[in-house]
């Protein structure tokens, strides 16, 4: 019997797969449906203090090789999270839930963390890394280690919940930034957010396809880049990490864990394999463990022979 359970920041997950933020995370019923389909835990879509309009469509599409999106972090705001999403999810709560929060001003992160803690999420994920916000507030906080640390310490001061920082891969020193966040009180990380941004042009109209012009790239084409980021963060901090980026199969999960992830996030996977993909991935992990004599997944974390 293989034990797929993982303890992450003190929270027990039945298996290491976690729904990544922004995918199937609009409603509590959708999040529960993801758990019903096999995920070990879920992350909400990033929650703003106030209602936040995203970009107009097209906001996303996929190819055989990558997925690109610029949803623009649309959200109904804290009020909906507090009054609807969390109460509904917590009623017969099926698995741990991670609250993703996002803000344009550092202080708002503190207020959000405080308020969302009252909803009793298991973990708070601080999204400082959306690559599509470039035009709204300049560089994402995740790209400057000082900013990343500042956001972390503000959030730390406002909650007792475990906090993990969602890192951007679009930096040349992800390990350094992670270290700065650790020093500021982070309990762990989600690595990584989308890459780029990238640009896809429709050659007939000569227009960028996404209304936001550029979008964050995810999916199988960037997977090896994400694995390297996870390894760098693990090496720099040793902290618990939700390894995220182009994970499509049980073998990808195992690989991410060997690179240093304790949990593994999946978003774009549902584009290629459907929400039922979680079940498939989990059974692929189980199969691999059985074949390789791994009794407890904890054994494999960070074991890559570098």
């Amino acid at each position: 019997m293989v034990n797929l359970g993982i303890k992450f920041c003190g929270v027990e997950f039945a298996n290491p797969t976690v729904l990544a933020s922004g995918i199937l995370g609009v409603t509590a019923s959708s999040l529960k449906n993801v758990i019903r389909n096999g995920a070990g835990g879920v992350t909400t879509k990033s929650i703003w203090l106030e209602e936040h309009k995203g970009h107009r469509n097209p906001t996303m599409f996929g190819t055989e090789n990558y997925f690109i999106n610029a949803v623009g972090l649309s959200d109904a705001g804290l009020e909906k999270a507090v009054s609807e999403t969390f109460p509904e999810y917590n009623d017969g709560k099926p698995a741990p839930i991670i609250a993703s929060i996002v803000a344009g001003k550092i202080d708002d992160f503190g207020l959000l963390a405080e308020k969302i803690s009252e909803c009793d999420p298991d973990i708070i994920e601080v999204n400082i890394s959306c690559p599509n916000v470039e035009n709204e507030f300049g560089k994402p906080f995740a790209c400057v280690s000082g900013d990343a640390a500042k956001v972390t310490s503000v959030v730390r001061a406002h909650t007792k919940k475990p906090i993990i920082i969602k890192l951007s891969p679009n930096v040349s020193n992800i390990g350094e930034i992670a270290k700065a966040c650790m020093d500021a009180g982070a309990d762990g990380f989600c690595a990584v957010n989308t890459f780029g941004p990238g640009l896809v042009i429709d050659v007939n109209t000569r227009m960028p396809i996404l209304t936001n012009k550029v979008g964050g790239v995810s999916g199988p084409g960037i997977h090896p880049l994400a694995v390297k980021c996870v390894y760098d963060v693990f090496k720099a901090t040793g902290a618990p990490i939700i390894g995220t980026g182009g994970v499509m199969t049980g073998e990808d999960v195992v690989e991410m864990m060997m690179a240093g992830a304790r949990l593994v996030g999946m978003g774009t996977m549902v584009y290629y394999r459907g929400v039922e993909g979680f079940k498939k991935v989990v059974s692929e992990i189980e199969e691999w463990c059985e074949k390789n004599g791994v009794k407890n997944l904890e054994e494999i974390i960070g074991t890559v022979k570098m």
């Binding site: 199937l24 609009v26 409603t27 019903r36 469509n57 599409f61 705001g77």
Partner: protein
């Protein structure tokens, strides 16, 4: 390079023809091998404006139609476009109305729902079905596609208008009850009811079919962004199924258990809007 199973990058194609159906409804014709089945939808990108879901109103393998009602910014921008202009297409997406050989079908359409139902009827005739085609509208000038449907041999067209300006006076649901009875009188039976139109109408249609013990399929049309089961915008309470993947066409047996169907939908930010509520 060859397999394009997962390619949902919009393909830009030119508007081939625009047919005015009524004051605020146009049919847009495209020459493109879409390969849609009746009930499926596409995401239509109006470059520079927006991208929205629309049901396929017809597809003969080399050409397809979209029948679109001008209701807001995106559709309005489309109505200003001309033949030869580029739009983008992603799809076809979603489930479809499954037609079995020789079925006796009742198709119940409201509003632009007549368009996808026309597509169903055209396919049903290829499968030797008997088709009762019911259109409900507030008044005569809101009845769509009646000429095209009338042109389909083997389809019995039934029209209802609230104000009696055309056909039966009253609701299409009452008309449906009548049609079911009529068919029964002939010792026949309706095998399936397919419906597409305003959610409240589909709910009532579904309930009638349910009570009559007839399988019914409705089109669950929720706010859609991705159309491909990723964004979660179209997830339906309380099961969280995705209208763009497990739908839009779903069996009413299942739909009637959904706590949100016929009650509310959600906006682009995921906020509930109750039917009847002002936006």
């Amino acid at each position: 390079m060859e397999g394009k199973k997962f390619d949902t990058k919009p393909v830009t194609i030119r508007i081939k023809k625009i047919i005015k159906e009524s004051d605020n409804v146009n049919t847009y014709v495209f020459e493109y091998e879409l390969g849609a089945k009746p009930g499926q939808f596409v995401m239509l990108w109006i470059p520079g404006v927006d991208e929205k879901p629309f049901s396929v109103a017809y597809d003969d393998g080399s050409e397809f139609w979209l029948t679109i009602c001008n209701v807001g910014p995106a559709t309005d921008a489309l109505f200003k476009m001309k033949v030869g202009d580029f739009v983008g297409i992603r799809g076809p997406f979603g489930t479809y109305y499954k037609i079995d050989e020789g079925d006796h079908l009742a198709l119940v359409a409201g509003g632009y729902g007549a368009a996808p139902m026309y597509f169903v009827a055209a396919e049903a005739l290829k499968k030797n079905c008997k088709v009762e085609f019911l259109i409900g509208a507030r008044s005569k000038d809101l009845v769509l596609f009646e000429k095209k449907i009338f042109g389909l041999r083997g389809v019995n067209l039934h029209i209802s208008t609230n104000d009696g300006s055309m056909g039966f006076t009253g609701l299409v649901t009452n008309l449906l009850e009548n049609v079911i009875l009529e068919v029964e009188k002939k010792d026949e039976k309706i095998d399936k009811v397919f419906t597409c139109g305003p959610e409240m109408m589909m709910k009532f249609v579904g309930d009638i079919a349910w009570k009559s013990g007839i399988d019914c399929y409705v089109s669950v049309e929720k706010y859609m962004k991705c159309g491909v089961g990723v964004c979660g915008q179209c997830a339906v309470d309380s099961t969280g199924v995705l209208a763009c993947k497990q739908g839009s066409v779903m069996k009413y047996n299942y739909v009637r258990e959904l706590s949100e169907f016929g009650k509310y939908h959600r906006d682009a930010q995921g906020k509930k809007i109750y039917f009847g509520e002002k936006k």
